[in-house]
Amino acid sequence: MKRRSIIAATAVGAMSALLISACSSSTSSSGSSTTPTTGAVAFNAGISSVVNPSSTKGGTLTFDVRGTPDSFDPGNTYYAWVLDFDHLFTMPLFGYKSCPGSCGLQLVPDLATDMGTTSDNGLTWTFHIQPDVKFENGTVVNSQDVKYAIERTYDRSVMANGPTYYQALLTDPTYPGPYKDRSKNLMGLTAVDTPNATTLVFHLQAPFPDLPYVLAFPNTAPVLPSADTGSNYQLHPLSTGPYMFKSYTLNKQLVMVDNPNWNPATDPNAKQLATQIIVNMNVNQADIDNNLIAGNADIDAYGAGVGPAAQARILGSSSLKANADNPVNGFARFVYINTKVAPLTNLHCREAVEYAANKTTMQTSWGGPVAGGAIASTIMPPVIIGYKSFDYYNALTQPAGDVTAAKQQLAMCGQPNGFTTNMAYRDDNPQETAEATALQASLGAVGIKLTLKGFPSGPYYTNFAGDPAYVHAHDIGLAGGGWGADWPDGYGFLDELLNGNAIAATGNTNISEINDPVINNLFTESSKLTGDARTAIWSQIDEQAMKDAVILPAVYQKTLLYRNAATTNVYVQAYYGMYNYAVMGVSS
C-alpha cells in the first residue's frame, strides 16, 4: 500500500513539474547586463527621455497586436504601427531620428547618405545610397533594388494599400509596374534613373520640397527583383534591417531572428538587441492590456493605447502609472463643416457652429484630458512643425461654448432660430458616436438641430462622408473625422485637408470641400520656399482655414501607452506617437 502511494505521488509530482515547466516564460538572457542608468521609471518619462536604457543583448521581445497588419510587404502598407515596425527589417531611404521628444521629428537619411540635392529648379533630385548595406542573404544592395521597390508600388492591382505619392509627383505616372512592364530588365520607370550602383535620380512633375519625407515610407526599402514574389512577398520580405523573418503564420504569429548580414554601422537608428522577436496577431485589446501588466507580453504593437478598463486601473495605481506614458500621438480629432451644404454655405452659420459647440463634452467623448487629449483650437496639432497656437472661437477660454456669440452669428447668417442639418459619423467607433451625441446636444441648445447618421468605418471615406455626391444628396453638413499626417510638417498635415485640388469623387479627404483661393495660393507658394519661410506658411493656412470656419477642432489626441518594465530603451518616437520599436530590447 505504501509503495503504491509513493509511486502515485511521484507520478503526480512529475506531471505538475511538466505542467509548470511547460508554461514558464521562455525569456532567457545571456551576456553581461549593464546596470541601467537613471532612465528613471516614472509617468511620462518615455516622452522626453529613454526609459531603461541598456545595451544588453538577448531574450525574446514579444509584441501583441489587435487585428492584423495590412501587409508586412514594405511596399504595400499604410498602417501607422506597421510603418514603425518595418524598421526592424527594412532600411528605407530616409527615416526619423531615433530619439525622444521633438528630436524625433527630424528627418534623417537611413539607406541614403545625405538629404539629397536638387537641380533643375527643384524638378530633379539626386540621392546616394550607402555602398555596403546587404540583404539577409548577403547580396549587396544597389540603387536598382531601390528603384525596383518604388516601381512595384505602381501596380495597384497587386500593391493596393500603400501611399500613392509617386504617381502624383513623379514624371511617368502611367507606368504600369514591373509585373506588366518587363522591359529594360524590369527598370522601365523613366521617372527614376540609376546611373550607378549607389545613385538615384528622381524626375518630378513640379517642384516638391518635401520629397525626402515621401521617401521615408518603407516602400523605398530595397527589394531584390529576383526575390520578389508579388502578393506573396509579404510572407517573407528579404530583410535589410536588424532582424529577419523566420516563420510567419498569416493572421496568427510572426517570428523573427537576428539578421547576421545587418551592419549596425550603416543603421544607427536601429538596434539589434533581442535574439528573437515574436508578434502575436488578432489578440483582443483586453488580453493585450492584461498581458502587458502581467509581463506576458512586452509591447502593444498597435500603439493606440490601452483600453478603457486598463486605463482606469493604470491611472489609479501609482506603481502601474509609473510605467505609463501619455503622449500626443500626432492625430487631431475634429468635425468637418461642409461649405457646400446649405445653410453652412454661409460663413456665419459655420461660425455659429464653432461658437456653440461644447468642446469639453467633445473632449470627454474622446476619453477626457488623459485618454482623449487636449482641447484643440487649431487644425494642426502641436507636434507638427510649423504649429502656432491661436483661438478664434474661444475654444480654450470658453470650452463649454459661447452661446451668445453663436446666437449673434446665427442672426447674421439669417437663421436666428437655428437650422437643421445632418451629421455623419462612424457608428462602430464608440468615441466618435459619443462625440456626435455631445455635439447634437450642445448645438441643439442654440437651435441648430442635428440629425445623426451613423455609418460603418470601412466604407466611411470611400462611400459616404468621403463621397461628395452622397454628401450633397443627403445634406450632410457635418462629418466626424480625424487626421494624422503622413509626415510631420504642415504640408503633410494640411494639404489633403484644405487644398482645393484635393477634392475627389471618392475617398475625398477635403471633406469640407473648401476651395479658398487664398489657401490654394499659399500651398502653391510653399513649393517655392524652403526653410523657415516655408514653415511659416503652414500656420497661415491653418489660420485662414479656421477663419473660414471649415473645421471644428475637437482634441489633439493623446494615448495612454504602457511599458512592460522588462523592456529596455523605451521612448515615444514623436512622429509615430508610439514607442520606437526598432531600438527596444528586453532585460531579464
Binding site: 495590412d70 501611399p163 488580453d287 506576458n296
Partner: protein
C-alpha cells in the same frame, strides 16, 4: 439505410450550393441593389487616400466588374476545379477546393480555414465532452433526487449558466483564474503537435467556460427528460422484473431520455464546429470563429464566403448524422 445516406448526401450538396448562392447574394447582390457600384466596392480594399486608377485596378483584379452570375460561377468553379491566380510575379495555381483569395491580403482562403479549423475543433470537441458528461450526470442525479437540496442547487446554477453569456463567463474566468490568481497565466492557443500538455492546459478555461453554458442546458434537458421517462410504465415493468435500480435508471430510463439529448448534441456540436465565435474572441484563440468576425469586420468577401461554407457544411452534416442516429437509437422511427 444506405439509400437514406446517399439521398441525404446529395441533398447536402444541393443545400450547400443554395447556401453559397444566398451568401453570395447577400454580400454581393444586395449592396448592388442598394446602389453600390463595383467601383465603390473595390474602394474598400485599398489603402488610405486612394487614386481612381488604383481603385479601378483593384476592381478589375478582384473581378468585381464582371456580372454577378459570372463572379459566382467563377467562385464555384474554383471550389470544384481550382483556379489560377496572378500574384504579380507569376501565375500560381490554387487547387481544389479553392475558396478564392482574400481581398485584403491576396492569400488563399482555404489554407487559412484549414489552419484555423483545429483550434475550433479543439475548443468545441473538448467542451462537448465536458458538457455532455457533466450536464447529463447532473441532470440524471437531479431527476433522481428531485426536490432535494442538490436538485435545487444544481438547477439554480444551471439557470445561471444558461443565462450568462459566454463572453461574460469567459472574461470573469480570465480575470479570476488567469490574471488575479495566475493558475492559468497567459492563456493562448498552443497546437497539440507542439506541446500536448500546454495545449490542454491553455484550453481548460475556454473548455470550462463554453461547457458551463451548455452543461447547464443539458442538465436541465436531461433532468426534464429523466423525470418524464422515469414516470413511464416500462420503468415500472423493469423494476417488476427485479432489475437493480441502477440498471433501471441507466439502461431503461436514461437510454430513453437521451434521444432528444443526442439530437440536440449533434446540432450544437455542428454549430460550434463552424466557429465558437464568442469563446474564441474572448480568449483570443485563432479559430474559425475569430476568423469569421475579422472577415466580416474587414468586409473580406472571399473569406466570409469560405467560412460560411465551412460552417454550413458542418451544420448540414451534423443534421444528417443526427437524423441517422435518431433512427438508430429509436426503433420506432425507421424507414
Amino acid at each position: 439505410m444506405i439509400y437514406f445516406i446517399i439521398r441525404r448526401l446529395i441533398m447536402t450538396v444541393f443545400l450547400l450550393l443554395l447556401v453559397s448562392m444566398i451568401t453570395f447574394a447577400i454580400f454581393f447582390l444586395v449592396p448592388r441593389l442598394a446602389g453600390q457600384t463595383a467601383y465603390q466596392l473595390a474602394a474598400q480594399y485599398v489603402g488610405r487616400n486612394p487614386i481612381p486608377s488604383e481603385i479601378k485596378a483593384v476592381e478589375v483584379k478582384l473581378g468585381l466588374n464582371a456580372p454577378l452570375y459570372l463572379q459566382y460561377g467563377r467562385y464555384i468553379k474554383g471550389i470544384v476545379a481550382g483556379i489560377h491566380y496572378n500574384n504579380g510575379t507569376d501565375i500560381s495555381y490554387c487547387p481544389f477546393p479553392c475558396f478564392g483569395y482574400s481581398f485584403r491580403n491576396q492569400q488563399p482562403v482555404w489554407p487559412q480555414l484549414i489552419s484555423d479549423a483545429p483550434v475550433t475543433l479543439s475548443i468545441a470537441v473538448g467542451a462537448a465532452v465536458l458538457w455532455l458528461i457533466g450536464g447529463v450526470s447532473i441532470g440524471v442525479l437531479s431527476a433522481l433526487r428531485r426536490g432535494s437540496f442538490f436538485d435545487r442547487l444544481s438547477m439554480g446554477v444551471a439557470l445561471a449558466g444558461v443565462s450568462l453569456p459566454v463572453f461574460f463567463t469567459g472574461l470573469i474566468a480570465l480575470e479570476l483564474f488567469s490574471y488575479h490568481w495566475p493558475i492559468f497565466p497567459n492563456v493562448h492557443y498552443v497546437p497539440i503537435t507542439e506541446n500536448p500538455l500546454l495545449w490542454a492546459r491553455n484550453l481548460i478555461l475556454p473548455w470550462v467556460t463554453l461547457a458551463f453554458l451548455y452543461a447547464a442546458l443539458y442538465a436541465r434537458l436531461t433532468r426534464a427528460g429523466m423525470l418524464e421517462t422515469m414516470g413511464e410504465d416500462y420503468i415500472r415493468t423493469a423494476r417488476a422484473k427485479g432489475l437493480a435500480e441502477r440498471k433501471v435508471v441507466v439502461k431503461h430510463g436514461l437510454r430513453a431520455a437521451l434521444t432528444p439529448i443526442v439530437t440536440i448534441f449533434g446540432l450544437d456540436l455542428g454549430l460550434l464546429l463552424g466557429g465558437a465565435i464568442l469563446t474564441e474572441t474572448t480568449f483570443s484563440f485563432p479559430g474559425l470563429g475569430q476568423f469569421t468576425i475579422l472577415a466580416i469586420q474587414n468586409q473580406d468577401l472571399p473569406e466570409i464566403m469560405g467560412v460560411v461554407m465551412i460552417a454550413s457544411f458542418f451544420i448540414v452534416i451534423a443534421n444528417m448524422i443526427v437524423d441517422i442516429l435518431y433512427a438508430v437509437v429509436d426503433p420506432r422511427v425507421r424507414f
